[in-house]
Symmetry: C2
Subunit: 388 residues, 2 copies
């Protein structure tokens, strides 16, 4: 279809507007954006989207003005599936589904689809997001808290030996990277024959994983692979098809499985950008290459904390420090506001900690260049010199 | 917050990339896009979005890279609410909520929130979409079909006197503009004390309505006011708060009412564009002015059909011809493919009829300029001259 709109056919079209976009040619000073999500996107992806925002593939209209059933758009969704499969080495007995609704919709979809005849599920509570998921699940089943490190301040994840798992549970649920507290599990829970479900929203595609260890891995796009409005779920085949028809069809994984993720109109801009981000990720060398870079970025910032003689404080157990989200406080909390203001002025944006914990949080998802982490570390040292 | 990023502070920021966007300055030949949705958007809105796609309000990052809890983004959602209230003269006892999930999610939310202690609802089936809504509702309650003109080929909407309404029903549901068949009700059903629910997806903001006649008016954005990924519901206060906690929290209107539509992360690009479209609509003179234009556009195309001596055929009852969606067939169906191909080449895009009915469909939502309808009518006449 791309070929249909050649320069020749386009020339014959009556141009509705032919004035050059003068405002666009100007110089853009991009800052380093440490938002926890919706988060930084690869600059080259945004530039390409900008270039074709009014004219998608020479068609004379925007991708967001296209039917989601138009073949070139359908092809894009199909390629996304192929790219995720390739990037994470997803086994053939897993499906890759795209949906709306973010993590919150999955918090409900997981029990509605996985409970089957069972009435209880195990939740490993390692922070805010696994706890929210457990709360939502309690609407539909008996929630067994297999472990809870949130109640003690969320400075570490539960370890395997602490997990109280019941083989009668329909599934075991956890959140491998707790975005708010900056805790990342350094192991995948062993759950025997009970399917393991991971809310990998802030971890997805940032590191290699062994998909075969999981029943479901889901993630919203707005951390590591796109704008908000899109959620991906990688699901083992046999876990699809068990949602009772007394639940809404939108919450049945089968609705998406049967329609190749086009059950209804998706958020097309999010899909389109995510497709480009997945391609970009492949061009970067895939997940192993991006993982190396993510380790480098995290090391730069944690080193700045560890070498600060307590000027900066991160309370998370070392082995479980998140690569994606580095929360820290300043020993003297009165310096937090000046730190954030000066960082912002220095081109280091959205570093404010989550409203529930305060302080500073540097989220460094896939699209954050190493240079961003380097500048943040340098700024931290320089700020400490002036205020320490 | 806008003021914080002055030219001066920006100049101090370390520019990550300073090369001009050479590819963008080129001439874009925009076509007239008759897609039924996701559909045409105002060109000026897209141009503004393009100009600031990498640098939202001088902040050095994109609006899609911003937290949805960032004050300037929250302000934008709040202004959307004000704009919808103003544009539709929404009474003060109605709330305006923004959600994800499109019409399909509303198909479930309406019964889950409105059934309350009742067990049945009345559905007026005038076409494909009201029928889909009825199917979904039948998962949750007894669906009474108050009338059905779909089974007879969907060439008109049921009239008031045909409606078999039961005062015991929790609500009456209908779709005032059936997008696929091109049927638009020429009246608002009288339902007594039973709340009336309208799926106004392809009609919202295209004409003035008396909101006080409705319990709920909902619409997905991708027809008349934005990209896909966003849904609006205008709901009478007293209908909020009745969803049982045994249903997912995402499907409870109260979740959105309590959080000013920021229960979880919305599709931020769709929100941002819709905000601009609503402003654009106000600048056009508001709904009455856009309605006049919509009548003019529809008249142009229906006249081309009616003056074609049966070369073009529209089977819908005259009083209920949709202003938004004009479906028609060619007397000689072998000419449909050439018609579509030549139209496309002439800059009239996405005119193919819905896969279930075939033929041609010209959707002319708010953002379609009158010139687009004029060109389509002229092309129809010219095509008929050559092939009639």
């Amino acid at each position: 279809m791309e070929a249909a709109a050649t320069a020749e056919t386009r020339a014959r079209r009556p141009a509705r507007s032919a004035k050059p976009d003068v405002a666009i040619g100007s110089i853009v000073a991009r800052v380093f954006n440490f938002s926890s999500g919706p988060a930084i996107l690869p600059e080259e992806v945004l530039r390409q989207a900008q270039a074709e925002l009014l004219d998608w593939g020479g068609r004379g209209y925007s991708v967001v003005e296209s039917s989601h059933r138009f073949e070139p758009f359908v092809a894009l969704v199909e390629e996304m599936e192929v790219l995720v499969r390739e990037l994470l080495a997803v086994p053939s007995n897993y499906q890759i589904l795209f949906m709306q609704g973010g993590g919150h919709q999955q918090f409900a979809m997981v029990p509605l689809n996985l409970l089957r005849a069972r009435t209880q599920a195990d939740y490993v509570v390692g922070g805010h997001w696994s706890n929210r998921a457990a709360q939502e699940a309690s609407r539909f089943c008996s929630v067994r808290v297999a472990a809870d490190t949130l109640k003690n301040g969320a400075t570490r994840a539960p370890v395997q030996s602490e997990l109280s798992l019941d083989p009668q549970s329909a599934y075991v649920y956890y959140c491998p990277n707790e975005t708010i507290h900056g805790i990342e599990y350094d192991y995948v829970p062993a759950t025997g024959d009970v399917p393991l479900v991971a809310d990998a929203s802030s971890q997805f595609l940032s590191r290699t994983i062994d998909v075969s260890r999981f029943g479901i891995v889901f993630a919203c796009a707005q951390k590591n692979f796109g704008p908000s409005g899109l959620t991906v779920a990688v699901i083992r085949d046999d876990l699809i098809g068990h949602c009772s028809p007394r639940w809404p069809s939108m919450l049945d994984y089968k609705s998406y499985s049967e329609t190749r993720s086009l059950y209804n109109t998706p958020a097309t801009f999010a899909v389109y950008i995510a497709h480009r981000v997945l391609r970009w990720l492949k061009d970067q060398g895939g997940v192993p290459a991006i993982e190396t870079r993510n380790i480098e970025k995290a090391t730069l910032v944690y080193d700045a904390i560890d070498r600060s003689d307590g000027f900066y404080v991160n309370r998370v157990a070392r082995a479980q420090r998140s690569r994606m989200n580095v929360p820290f406080s300043l020993r003297d909390d009165r310096l937090t506001a000046p730190f954030l203001a000066e960082a912002e002025q220095g081109g280091l944006a959205q570093l404010k900690g989550h409203r529930t914990v305060g302080g500073v949080r540097a989220s460094m998802y896939n699209a954050m260049p190493v240079e961003g982490a380097r500048r943040l570390a340098a700024f931290m040292q320089e700020f400490q010199r002036r205020h320490g």
